[in-house]
Amino acid sequence: MLVLTRKQNESIMIGDTIEVKVLDVKENQVRIGVVAPREITVHRMEVYLAIQRENIEAAKAQAATEELQKLIKEPLKSK
């Protein structure tokens, strides 16, 4: 990991198209601005990981769509 120290309003340039800027620094929170081309997605890490994990779980599915359709039309009352 490349580690840089920045002050408020200072930036980092990643490649030629991505800018990361420190907008605001509070006690335990940093407000970060990102400028990136549209095709580069930017996610909070925990959201990214949660979605990736869920996608990977989903890819394991071995089921019949008719079975699932029944589950949805008549939702199980059990929790």
């Binding site: 990102v34 400028v35 990136a36 549209r38 095709e39 997605t41 930017v42 996610h43 909070r44 959201v47 990214y48 949660a50 979605i51 990736q52 994990r53 869920e54 996608n55 990977i56 779980e57 989903a58 890819a59 599915a61 071995q62 089921a63 019949a64 769509t65 008719e66 699932l68 359709q69 589950l71 949805i72 939702p75 199980l76 009352k77 059990s78 929790k79």
Partner: protein, 156 residues
């Protein structure tokens, strides 16, 4: 063209029907081409089978079936990326997770797939500002109600 699949054998696919993901499904960065396999009957659940990897397929569903007011606001760049003429043309598909314990069948409302059936372009977007859950349990759909609004524009 022929598409090899582990679940369905070798499929004969019309190339015009191949769905191209402008951005890959998160976690599967080397797969961009998929086909939608319709199930029997009139259900709104389908398989999204990768054309690049035979073992890769996702069950996807129409989220409006279980959340009739599920709303996704697309920003201009999403509309452009999928070459939508209007945002209304977009179809929403959410990925379904099917665990062994079928009572835990769930779908991801936080990161739906936006699909343009006219251009066969699609992408998975993350609704950063929404309160929709990553894990929406389908068997509890009677009791669960998502909170908040959906906004597909990212924080960037």
């Amino acid at each position: 063209m022929k598409v090899e699949t582990t679940r369905f054998g070798t499929l004969e696919v019309d190339e015009q029907k191949i769905v191209c993901f402008t951005q890959p499904i998160l976690g599967f960065s080397d797969c961009h081409r998929y086909i939608i396999i319709e199930g029997p009957g009139e259900g709104k659940i389908w398989w999204l089978q990768s054309c690049d990897k035979p073992e890769l397929a996702f069950i996807v569903m129409d989220p409006l079936q279980v959340v009739p007011d599920y709303e996704v606001r697309l920003d201009a760049s999403e509309v452009e990326d999928l070459r939508l003429e209007t945002a209304e043309e977009a179809r929403l598909l959410t990925i379904v997770v099917v665990p062994e314990d079928r009572s835990k069948v769930r779908t991801n409302l936080k990161a739906p797939i936006i699909y343009n059936p006219k251009t066969n372009l699609a992408k998975q977007v993350v609704l950063h500002e929404s309160d929709y859950p990553v894990q929406y349990y389908l068997t509890e759909s009677a009791e669960q109600a998502p909170v908040g609004t959906a906004d597909a524009s990212s924080d960037a």
